[in-house]
Structure formats: C-alpha cells, structure tokens
Symmetry: C2
Subunit: 242 residues, 2 copies
Amino acid sequence: MAQKCENCPLRQKPLFQDLSPDEVRFMQKFKVGELVVDPGAPILMEGSNSPQLFTALRGMGIRYNTLQNGRRQVLSFVFPGDFIGMQAGIMGEMGHSVEATTQMTLCVFDRSGIWNLFKSHPERAFDLTWLAASEEHFLGEALSSVGQRSAIQAIAWALVRVFLRGRALGLVRNGVMPLPFRQQDLADALGLSLVHTNKTLAVLRDRQLAAWSDGELQVNNLEALADIAETDTEKLPARPIL
Amino acid sequence: MAQKCENCPLRQKPLFQDLSPDEVRFMQKFKVGELVVDPGAPILMEGSNSPQLFTALRGMGIRYNTLQNGRRQVLSFVFPGDFIGMQAGIMGEMGHSVEATTQMTLCVFDRSGIWNLFKSHPERAFDLTWLAASEEHFLGEALSSVGQRSAIQAIAWALVRVFLRGRALGLVRNGVMPLPFRQQDLADALGLSLVHTNKTLAVLRDRQLAAWSDGELQVNNLEALADIAETDTEKLPARPIL
DNA sequence: CGTGTCCTTGAAGCGCATCAATGTTGGTGG
DNA sequence: CCACCAACATTGATGCGCTTCAAGGACACG
C-alpha cells in the first residue's frame, strides 16, 4: 500500500520545505511505486545506470565508494528525505554505491521522468539542483574534516552533523536519537581505523559529551562537542523534498 | 572587449559539449560582462551571497574552505570552463571560497538570471544540474583519496586527475602542461603537510613518473602513475559549458 | 642588496594504524 | 537448553607514516 504524496509524513517535518498542491500532484504522477528493502541490501551500485531513482521515506543507509585495494570510503549517511540516484538520473552513472543499513522504505521514481520534470516543472528542477548543490556543500565539509581535523575533532564533527539532522527530523527524544550504524561505518567515513575510532568514542563518552552504543546516540553537551569540532550548531536550512 | 559566446574558444575543445545556436544566443544574453582578476585575487568568499556567477574563460584558480583553526582545505583546482558560484546561485550562499592563482578572465552572469534559465531553457538547467552532480562526483572521489589512500597514492591520483583534465583541454604539449600552483596548495588539497608533499613529489620524480616544477607538470608514465594511485585513465566525459 | 616567497632537506617525535586477543550479544541447530 | 558461531565492541602492545621543527638554498623584486 503505497503512501500518497499528499499525506507524505516527511513534508510535515520542520526540515522540509512546503510544496504547492500542483507540485504534490506532479510528484504523485512521477512516483511509480514503493520499495521496501532489508538491512544490508544494495540499493544502487557504483557504475550502474539505474532506471529508478528513490527518495528515502523510512529507514537509514550509507553511500560509499569502494577502492581497488578493497578499502571503503563512506561518503554520507542516508536519512529519511534524502534523494538517492542523482548521478544516475543526471549523468547516467552512479559515482558511488548506496546500501540500506536498516530496513528502508523508498519512494520509487522513473529516471525517464526527469527530463519531463525539467521541461514542465522548473521549480521542481530547481529543487533538484538545490539538492545537488547541497550534497556538494556537504562533501566539501566532509573533505575538510577528513583532511584537516584530528581524529577527535572529526568524530565530534560527525556526531554534531548527525545530531542536527536527527533533531530537524524529529528523531531526538531526551537528547537521544537512533543511529543504527557500526563503528566501522563511522571509521570508514572519516578515514580512521576501527580501533582508533572506538578509543576516540570512548574519550567522548568519558568526558560526558556524547555516548553512542546499541544503535543510539546520546548527546549530552552539543555545544562542547561543537567546540571540539570547531564547527557551529546552526539550524539546518529547510530543504526541498522529491 | 568581451568575448562573444558565438566564438567562445572553449567550446571548440574536445572536453566540451556542443551548444545549439539558440542556446548560444541565450548564453550571450545571460552573460553580462567579463572580469579580469590578478593572481591571488579573491573571486567569491565563503558565506557570501554574490549577485554574480562566473565561468572561467582563461587562467586557473582554487576553491577552498577555511577552518576555525586556520587550516585550509583545498577542494579543487579551477580550470578553464569551470562554473564558479553554483552554491551562491542555487542556495544563496557559497560553502567555500574561490581565488585566482594566475591572472583569470571570467565570463560574468547575473544571479537573478538563473531562474529565467530554469523557466525558459530547461536543457540549460539540466546542464547546470549536470555540473552540480559532476562536482559531487568529483568531491566523492577526492574524499576517498584523502580518506583511504596513502600519501604517494593520493599525490599520484591528483596528478593523474589534473593531467587528464589538462589533456582534454589541449594544454598538454610533449607530455607537459602548465600547473601554476604551489606545493602547499596540493598539500592542502590532500590533507598532507608541505614537507611530506615535497618529499613524495621527489619520489615520483626519482622514479621518472612525473615531475612538477616551475609551474609545469611533466608526466612521463601516465599508466604507471595511475597504477600507483589505483585509479583509471579513462577519457573524461564531455561536459556542458555555461 | 635586503627581503619575501617558495622549494628542499635533515632530524625528532607523535598520532595514528596495525596486530592480537578477549568480551559481549544474538542467532541457530542439535 | 545448551553448545556453537558470527558479528561487533573493546582493550593493550608495537611500530610506522606522517607531522612538526629547523635550517638553508634559489629565485624574484623593490
């Protein structure tokens, strides 16, 4: 039973921009179905030219690159509302893979509808470009973290980012939000070893700043965490949703 | 004396896609002038909401982030044909700064014309999105380099990237192309110290793979360089030009 | 010529990776 | 119900790739 765009639960969250009734109708027509995938399932593979694009409706996942030597770079964590498959939709080939971490529900769009979107709904095309520019912005920040921050700074930065996103999505209750990833995922996102990631998380826990275990992240002192990371805690800008 | 889009020297390079006569006319209307900046001049600053967007017509520059602790992450080198100011144009605020390294000539566009582009020229809007997705792709690769490659692999990767781009732009003559950056710039791009970058470049020079000095990059053995980097040397896809 | 910028080289030390082993939990089958 | 196993978290020990510190060389420029 597919979710009607009209009643999409995501659009009510403060993180997302409003849509006009006409835009909602268009998205409903653009949406060809819904897909539920299990934890660990691949959603898109690097190099693939998928005919389908997605928006994460429920659940979380990761985007990652695999190098020839077998090492893995996690590019970002996928949260509800994230658009998946931009590169396939626009350039015809994914530059990274996407995999479900939890069970996920995905809105499915037809890649061939993209061009129609540009032709007949320029405001939606603009939103799509906004998302691409936003991803570029985020990857620039991530690159700065991996390149210039120490391990403890990088981990603090990542936890702040994740927490702000979780808060904007209404996932935080009493300073706790679900974060169903492995320490290895975070290590691969920051270019650190699993061992050092583990020890650094322990430091943050000992300092009573943030504790992440059993798939739950608890942030006790967001400002102190942001101070370590030398980043800010500004409210995230409202983003469009596809 | 501004360059007419009709005679734009960039479009003739193999790297760039063709434009229809109508598209050329539109771009000419969109273009409000030309700007020449000196080496070291700032073009856009992080956080700025510039009313102007640019395409690099001649010369080279760098995009970079500055962190609170004063360290700098170079996100990419700017080559002729690169679009500058995507984030300001789409999201209203730059996520990084852009600075000229050599003297540069920039085509200037009016930010307020962007919306008109989406409304009346969907194929140009698509091209803009293509560029954004392409940047995202590149930053993902860069992140993988900084996060997962050793110093010599990362430097080899960067030199291969730069060389492929230079070749597609017709800048390579006898295996040599201009690369007017400092070693510090490359170090900041890869999250390495200047000293180690210098020593690693010396290794590549000693092995007769690539030599970079006096603003010129000579690549003697592209394949061997790519082997070290564990990357490929595929021809770059033709990109749109704004 | 003095000063600034960039490149180069040597030496010392640390933040991190790697290796190794053990603990914990949940699932599975006999 | 317990033995077993797989996946993940944890902790200690060792060492290396890198950073940092320091000094000097090669230009270019006023």
